[in-house]
């Protein structure tokens, strides 16, 4: 690392520490007004007396505050249970809203300067560090990836992974503890949607920033490779516009939140009643959203996947893919390439696909018949199981938290039902393949090592067989890192894909003979 890179990293770390420190800034005081503003009127009546001891008491941390709050609500609910008045029980989650509303002090008053001192500084530092890469001559620069503990599952990697996991657990399950962070992005949220920032707005902002900043890193790292550049600009664009700005503007216009590039079954709650209801009650635009959402996966997926392969979505458009290809790029080499991993992957990812289809069928059954149960199975419990295990734990906590441990596509590879679906189309009906160039492979292993989907690309390349795999997201990195120019992502007539290795590789004039191969030299 040169001095500029070190400076950048230093600024980033300072910004990061300030950001963590903002969690301790400010105090929490519950007032009557806060309760009135944030509770449903009936809940206000129910809770007000029990919460009285908390009122106007100032807490130094969100922990003490939330302990008391949770205990109080618990007590109230227990009371109802004893009195057999379970219908009165309060199941709404007020923790985040009350914590945020109760917070005051420097974090609320100085949120803009604090934003710049934390997130802003971290961005500037990261960009300085990244721009220093321009000093190197363009070309593949993977030096020291396996010497660096961040990128080789060393202690730094484990720390980063732990941080990401904790971050996701908090965002999903305990947002009240990071209410302070949402103040930092409040001005942005108000500017876009006119509403104060929720934890999801905070998450969306950080997500988009990560894709943009690390996208710039990709653009510089691959400035000799236009495929990588175009693809990276594409994911940056789709995240910034479709997933972030447009979605927020819709909220400002009191229209349903909608990410026009997301689709079922990745967007697993697309067919949930509340979502269908919100679309069908939003006029023409709502109807358009409904039709668009259905057309995307019924027509868009087969058509575009036939023409260009899975990559049109997974490494050009998708938000999960976008994060994986930018923030996750430094970790791509950590994917497991073993045959075992491939077997596990196939069971898991197709299992999730079956799960989401069954769940959606149940949900639609409930929607149309009004019955929540088929036999003993309740469509509500199935959807909450899916939402918790797959929607939150798998795609978020594991999917991103495990970047530094298992590579950047853990979710896409083992869990994403949409990837499973597109993959089936790519495998059986697509013009896409990765061509291997005659006999030029030297079996060096760069391609396999840097394949984020854990495809053993070399296994195909060294036997002159095209890479045709359901999981390949067409990131093109295998082709970029190959030092001998062996791999090329191409579209052509589906029948021209070389699915069986040639008996004799190009470059050898030995006569072909059609021996029946006795070898188990095959992976599938």
């Amino acid at each position: 690392m040169n001095i500029i890179q070190k400076t950048g990293l230093g600024l980033f770390l300072i910004g990061f520490l300030v950001w963590i420190a903002t969690l301790t800034m400010g105090k929490f005081t519950l007032t009557d007004q806060v309760l009135k503003d944030n509770l449903k009127p009936n809940h206000y009546e129910q809770l007000r007396p029990s919460l009285a001891p908390m009122l106007n008491k100032t807490y130094a941390t969100p922990f003490g505050f939330n302990d008391d709050l949770a205990n109080t609500i618990d007590q109230v609910n227990r009371g109802y249970k004893i009195q057999n008045q379970m219908d009165k029980a309060i199941n709404d989650s007020y923790a985040f809203a009350l914590t945020k509303a109760a917070s005051h002090g420097i974090i609320r008053e100085a949120n803009v300067p604090l934003f710049w001192a934390s997130i802003g500084l971290a961005i500037v530092g990261a960009l300085i560090n990244i721009l220093a890469g321009l000093r190197k001559l363009p070309g593949i620069k993977n030096d020291h990836i396996y010497h660096n503990s961040t990128t080789s599952r060393g202690w730094l990697g484990i720390i980063i992974g732990t941080f990401l996991i904790v971050f996701y657990v908090i965002i999903y399950f305990f947002p009240q503890y990071i209410a302070n962070w949402t103040f930092l992005v409040d001005p942005l949220s108000r500017a876009l949607s006119g509403t104060p920032a929720s934890q999801w707005f905070l998450y969306g902002t950080l997500y988009t920033l990560a894709i943009l900043v690390m996208g710039i890193r990709m653009l510089i790292k691959y400035r000799h490779n236009r495929y990588q550049q175009v693809r990276t600009v594409s994911v940056m664009f789709f995240q910034l516009s479709f997933a972030f700005i447009i979605a927020e503007i819709l909220i400002a216009l009191s229209l349903p939140y909608y990410d026009f590039k997301n689709m079922w079954p990745l967007d697993y709650d697309f067919f949930f009643e509340w979502h269908l209801d919100s679309l069908t009650s939003s006029g023409r635009l709502g109807m358009f959203m409904l039709v668009w959402g259905i057309a995307l996966f019924t027509i868009g997926v087969p058509l575009f996947t036939y023409l260009y392969g899975k990559r049109w979505y997974c490494s050009w458009v998708c938000g999960c893919g976008g994060l994986a290809e930018t923030l996750g790029d430094p970790y791509r080499q950590l994917s497991d390439k073993s045959l075992k991993a491939w077997q596990v992957e196939r069971y898991m990812v197709h299992g999730v696909l079956v799960f989401v289809v069954v769940m959606t069928a149940l949900v639609l059954y409930t929607y149309f018949t009004g019955q929540s149960n088929i036999g003993p199975i309740s469509s509500y419990s199935v959807r909450s199981i899916y939402g918790f295990w797959i929607g939150a734990l798998f795609s978020g906590v594991v999917g991103v938290g495990f970047y530094p441990l298992m590579g950047n596509r853990v979710w896409c590879r083992y869990g994403c039902p949409l990837a499973a679906y597109i993959g089936i189309v790519q495998r059986f009906k697509s013009r896409f393949r990765i061509t291997t160039n005659g006999g030029q492979c030297i079996s060096c292993g760069n391609c396999s090592t840097y394949c984020e989907m854990g495809i053993d690309v070399r296994w195909y390349a060294q036997r002159g067989q095209d890479v045709v795999r359901a999981s390949c997201v067409g990131c093109g990195i295998c082709s970029a890192v190959c030092p001998r120019g062996v791999l090329n992502l191409e579209n052509a007539a589906p029948g021209s894909r070389v699915l069986i290795a040639p008996e004799v590789l190009t470059g050898n004039d030995m006569l072909r003979e059609n021996h029946k191969a006795r070898m188990t030299d095959t992976q599938n």
Partner: protein
């Protein structure tokens, strides 16, 4: 069922083993003293630079060998008793064979320079060399690389990745100019220098001198009398077949193990392939000893046929090779001889960026293309090979340049500029390149 013993688990020995298994049920044993498993020697540089770990360079997962009943044995063979068909291994073990394949590879050349046995002086060939390299280059300031070939450049890139300054001594007046025509050689030289390598053309090593300890290298002296302080010297002046250890046996060797076109040595049931084989009668246009990955593989494939009952002569196709000089990929197909033969003409195009170039050599009379050199461009192997075999003319090549292109999508295409260059130098027959097929017609192709 015979017991086939292969000495050497490099690309040639392993390819032979895999293909013998494909075609037969013979018992197969592969012995090597270097590593337990086959790994890609060509990737040694990437291990040193931290792009990969040793595990990543193994082309097959470890379960593969047992599954395919290829027995692996890690041991050095010290002596071969060809009469008894017996190998003597380390620690007095021995092993008998019915058929023996020698695929023992090469070892780096050392030309008897004074001081060449000092600590910190080495070549780069084996896994053990890599381990030594780790030790000797730790924390040093400058390394001198002797030899302007492919390994020399790889070594320069490796040392630079660790922040070590590099002096590269090249005997020739320009980098690798006995293989690369002047323009390509200049292009690569410029690129090497752009990476801040102290490139010294026309300079040879005269002597290596120790440091104050008397044991480790401290400096070198060039044939021009110049002294260069350094803590490490890499000798990258080529390799030679690893055959000395078999000198006292009836096996006939010259520089390498002498073989005919079926890889048969002078002894019954003994074959030699890969780097260590020396063809008594090399195929037309080929060298007697070919020290490249691809030919090792082709030899392994071919010999497997013979051993499994279909006697098959060595017929490598159109020559091809590739390398990478820092960031510039190089591919070559067919014959691009230096100097240019009298009956051959050459067409050369270089991009104004100075990093991208294409050369097509063709016969003077009918214009049949005979060879391609590409720098910073990827060409399609299959098409280059076909054009050379079918003796397509340079005109045809210019018209169909699109077909040899193998660069990734969205890369800037150079066909038009290349054809323009051709047209401006050959105004007597102007070429109009074939149009790209329309999107729709490609869609339904």
């Amino acid at each position: 069922m015979k017991h086939i013993v292969i000495v050497g688990n490099g690309i040639s020995g392993i390819t032979a083993a895999r293909h013998i298994r494909k075609h037969s049920d013979h018992r197969i044993t592969v012995i090597s003293g270097e590593t337990d498993y086959f790994f890609s020697r060509t990737a040694l540089m990437y291990i040193y630079m931290g792009h990969m770990k040793y595990e990543h360079t193994k082309p097959y997962e470890d379960y593969f060998w047992e599954k395919n009943r290829i027995e692996l044995k890690k041991a050095w063979v010290n002596h071969i008793d060809f009469e008894q068909k017996r190998l003597l291994l380390d620690g007095d073990a021995s092993l008998t064979y019915d058929v023996l394949i020698l695929a023992v590879g090469s070892e780096p050349n050392r030309f008897g320079w004074p001081g060449q046995d000092l600590e910190g002086v080495q070549g780069l060939y084996s896994y053990q060399d890599l381990e030594k390299l780790e030790v000797y280059t730790k924390g040093i300031r400058r390394g001198v690389i002797v030899g302007g070939g492919l390994i020399g450049v790889e070594m320069a890139e490796m040392l630079l990745s660790r922040g070590i300054e590099v002096t590269l001594l090249v005997r020739e007046q320009s980098y690798w100019n006995h293989v690369l025509p002047a323009e390509e050689s200049a292009l690569v030289s410029r690129h090497i220098q752009a990476h801040h390598v102290d490139l010294r053309p026309g300079t040879e090593l005269a002597e290596i001198r120790p440091d104050s300890s008397g044991k480790r290298v401290g400096s070198i002296v060039t044939n021009k009398g110049e002294s260069i302080e350094c803590q490490f010297v890499c000798l990258a002046v080529g390799v030679h077949p690893r055959v000395e250890w078999m000198a006292e046996t009836p096996l006939e060797t010259d520089r390498g193990i002498l073989v005919n076109e079926y890889f048969e040595t002078n002894l019954p049931d003994v074959y030699a392939i890969g780097d260590c084989a020396q063809h008594r009668q090399p195929p037309a246009g080929r060298k007697a000893i070919e020290q490249i990955w691809y030919t090792g593989r082709i030899m392994g494939e071919t010999l497997a046929r013979t051993i499994c009952g279909t006697r098959t002569p060595y017929t490598p196709g159109i020559f091809f090779n590739s390398a990478k000089f820092f960031d510039i990929e190089y591919q070559t197909y067919g014959e691009v001889a230096v100097p240019l033969p009298a009956d051959t003409e050459t067409f050369f195009w270089e991009h104004s960026n100075g990093r991208t170039a294409l050369r097509i050599n063709h016969k003077s009379d009918a214009g049949a293309v005979v060879g391609f050199n590409a720098m910073g461009l990827r060409l399609r192997h299959e098409v280059c090979e076909r054009w050379i075999k079918e003796e397509r003319s340079i005109r045809y090549a210019m018209e169909h340049l699109r077909d040899i292109h193998f660069d990734p999508e969205f890369f800037r295409r150079h066909e038009e500029e290349i054809v323009q260059t051709y047209n401006s130098t050959h105004p007597e027959h102007v070429v109009v390149p074939r149009k790209k097929n329309s999107f729709l017609s490609r869609l339904f192709s």
